[in-house]
């Protein structure tokens, strides 16, 4: 059985999914790729918007999400962040 993902890993996975789609994606694609329930996905998307890692764009066809430079920076530094939080026992 796979190990349960930490919060930081889930955030990384969502941002990577958005980046892989040329930085712009619909919520349904995030849902399929991120292995999350709909409720959890909405919670994380709200959190990522609050942290300014992603931007929501409302179009005629629905919502899309774009990754921001702060989101890119998180992905670039993810390994260091994860290593530090694991070592200091901070992963929730």
């Amino acid at each position: 059985m796979n190990k349960k993902r930490t919060r930081l890993e889930i955030i990384k996975d969502i941002l990577e999914v958005i980046r892989a789609k040329s930085g712009k994606i619909k919520p349904t694609h995030i849902l399929y790729k991120s292995n999350l329930s709909h409720g959890m996905m909405e919670t994380y998307l709200a959190e990522l918007q609050e942290k300014e890692f992603i931007l929501e764009q409302k179009t005629k066809t629905g919502r899309t999400y774009l990754i921001t430079p702060k989101g890119q920076e998180y992905l670039a530094q993810y390994h260091t962040i994860a290593q530090f939080t694991d070592t200091f026992g901070l992963n929730e």
Partner: protein, 217 residues
């Protein structure tokens, strides 16, 4: 009763150097955690940064008080007590204890899964209230710190079963716990002050090696 400990004269300068070293290492951890917090915006990183920041400040104040005392120690005085110190020295002692307790309270809060500032208020508030109400400030500071450390050690012991990387951090906090217990004996036995410092040295050496390991990878 006065806040006091016994320092052998030959160890005095070493102890100041060690306290400054601990302040530097704690500041390094606080700074690194803060830099990562700026990127990840995770509250646990923020609280770890604040906790080690308080601890760094507490060691800086302790070293400052001992520097104020240095002339008296060279004159042969070995016992540090509140009534011997001028107001600046007393403020340094109280400041050291307050920031020491705030630091460990904040580190304990950083390990909580609940994000409730009222919990931090409860832990820090109870610690400082006990300190303020006590007539034996030195003993109370280290008793409270040791108690909080038992919780922190338990948290890291639980973590170490899933994350082997926390073993070094667990050992570091264990050294800190033992050092705080050892300091309880320093009003009576001067070597307890020395042993306590060396145990802290072990703890901060482990913290430093952990910090450098996370930076390398």
């Amino acid at each position: 009763m006065d806040y006091e400990y016994i320092i052998p004269e030959w160890f005095f300068t070493f102890s100041i150097g060690m306290e400054l070293l601990y302040a530097l290492i704690a500041f390094g951890i606080a700074f690194t955690a803060y830099k990562l917090y700026r990127v990840a915006k995770e509250r646990t990183l923020k609280h770890l940064s604040i906790g080690f920041g308080f601890i760094s400040l507490s060691y800086l104040l302790w070293a400052s008080v001992n520097m104020v005392m240095i002339e008296q120690v060279r004159a042969g005085v070995q016992t540090v007590c509140l009534s011997c110190l001028q107001n600046v020295g007393r403020m340094g002692i109280y400041g050291h204890s307050i920031f020491f307790l705030l630091g460990f309270s904040t580190l304990a809060y950083a390990t909580f899964t609940l994000n409730r500032p009222s919990l931090w208020y409860l832990v820090a508030g109870l610690s400082l209230t006990a300190f303020a109400a006590s007539t034996q400030k030195f003993l109370t500071t280290h008793i409270i710190a040791a108690f909080i450390l038992t919780y922190i050690i338990y948290h890291y012991w639980c973590c170490s079963s899933t994350h082997a990387q926390t073993n070094r951090t667990l050992l570091a906090f264990t050294f800190l716990f033992v050092s705080n217990v050892t300091f309880l004996l320093s009003p009576e036995f001067y070597y307890a002050y020395i042993i306590g410092h060396f145990l802290e040295l072990g703890a901060y050496a482990l913290f430093l090696s952990t910090l450098l390991t996370t930076q390398k990878q």
